[in-house]
Amino acid sequence: MKNRKKEAKILHVLSVMATAFTVVSFASLCVFVLVKGIPHITADMFSLKYTSENASVVPAAINTLTISVCALALALLPGIFSAVYLCEYAGRKNKFVSVIRTMTETLAGIPSIVYGLFGYLAFVIFAGWGYSIIAGALTLSLMILPVIMRTAEEAINSVPDSFRESSYALGAGRLRTIARVVIPSALPGIVSGAVLSVGRILGETAALIYTAGTVAGLATSLTSSGRTLSVQMYTLWREGIYTQKAFASAAVLLILTVMINILSSFFKRR
């Protein structure tokens, strides 16, 4: 009896220590970045035009927004419709389905630098667009496609069968059931997956350096180059002269990422 009590206590202590370790690691990362970065955040960092002096985050942020929106627009429909096919049309025991699922899991695990190199060969060189927003957006859309498919599939599968049955029992066909009952019910989960993808896009550097390029300043068209916030941070750091600005950008990026994650969990709870 005493032994079990001792074991329980040890387990309790170990769990608390592990949690503390996680919290402390996360906290020290945040504190370090914010402490080093916030002092160097200047007002001109938020001006519209980028110069070497102000290292403004605004053009990079706008580029990030453009690329995110384009990547989402390219990946959302194929992702959702693939999930609909896998859940609603393909049979449960279909071998094809498990092959596709394995492929999706694999795609989700491929390092982003590999996507970057693929995007470079396919979109920058072969398609002839050069370093461009469109090359970056296409590459990123391939990266987030498995995430969107997976979250959409989970959301669609968790719609109770009773909804589908009730719809069929009223004389609605499969298309109408999916469009009017299943997808609206699955929407919070799908949106949460989309927001999660945006979070991933925000942190992307490797895939974008070789596709969207590292040109500072606002990208003027889909075929012109423009760097995102994280790429800018990387470039500033590598150039060695603007390390303070790099930290400042890092602080801004961290705050943005945390805000996006809070948004995503808000949607999930709905």
């Binding site: 449960r92 109770p160 909804f163 009730s166 029992a169 009223l170």
Partner: protein, 250 residues
Amino acid sequence: MNKFEIRNLNLHYGDFHALKNIKLDIGEHRITAFIGPSGCGKSTLLRTLDRMNDLNEDCRIEGKVLLDGEDIYSRKTDVDYLRRKVGMVFQKPSPFPMSVYDNVAYGPRTHGIRKKEKLNEIVEKALRDAAIWDELKDRLTNRATGLSGGQQQRLCIARALAVNPDVILMDEPTSALDPISTAKIEELMIKLKKDYTIITVTHNMQQARRISDKTAFFLSGQVIEYEDTEKLFESPSDKRTAEYISGVFG
């Protein structure tokens, strides 16, 4: 006049022979109850009447099911139209995650009715026929999932009524509800049989005795006895029926 005529119906789930040579005539404008122990096939038979078993990939059906003289399993059958004529209410009340109004209007909208005034009319009539208009008339835009269990089930009945069916199939409609809601729904079923044909599966023998006109007793995929309710319960012809009714097995 028989609403349904079932002849030589055999149903397999994969290798399992779930329904064996079913022969049954179900009359219109009355309540027919299917009773029997768990797994005897009564819900399965109910689901063949509106081809809900089509949703199950493993299911194989042979035989004839005639609705108003026409085989619903023929190739020419429009299944969506069939499910309009033969509505179903399930054991667990499952209103869609939409407003009360949209739930009831879902069926009519599916079948092409778009005009606001017509939909309003249909929704009101359906809710009145389901004896829930007074409770919900000021809450039509509220989400249906916020209602109580009994109200949700009556809403589901209204939803089924809104497409103007001939038949209403009810798969243990009150087993998930409290006694008061159960009583309300039983009252509703008796009121509805004037205009509709009702077939209900129930585990509750007292309920079958209270509301049904004819009762069929099922065991291991076969109809053991099919009789006027009073006669089946007072003097069953088959020994197994007598044993089930007296609770020897359940």
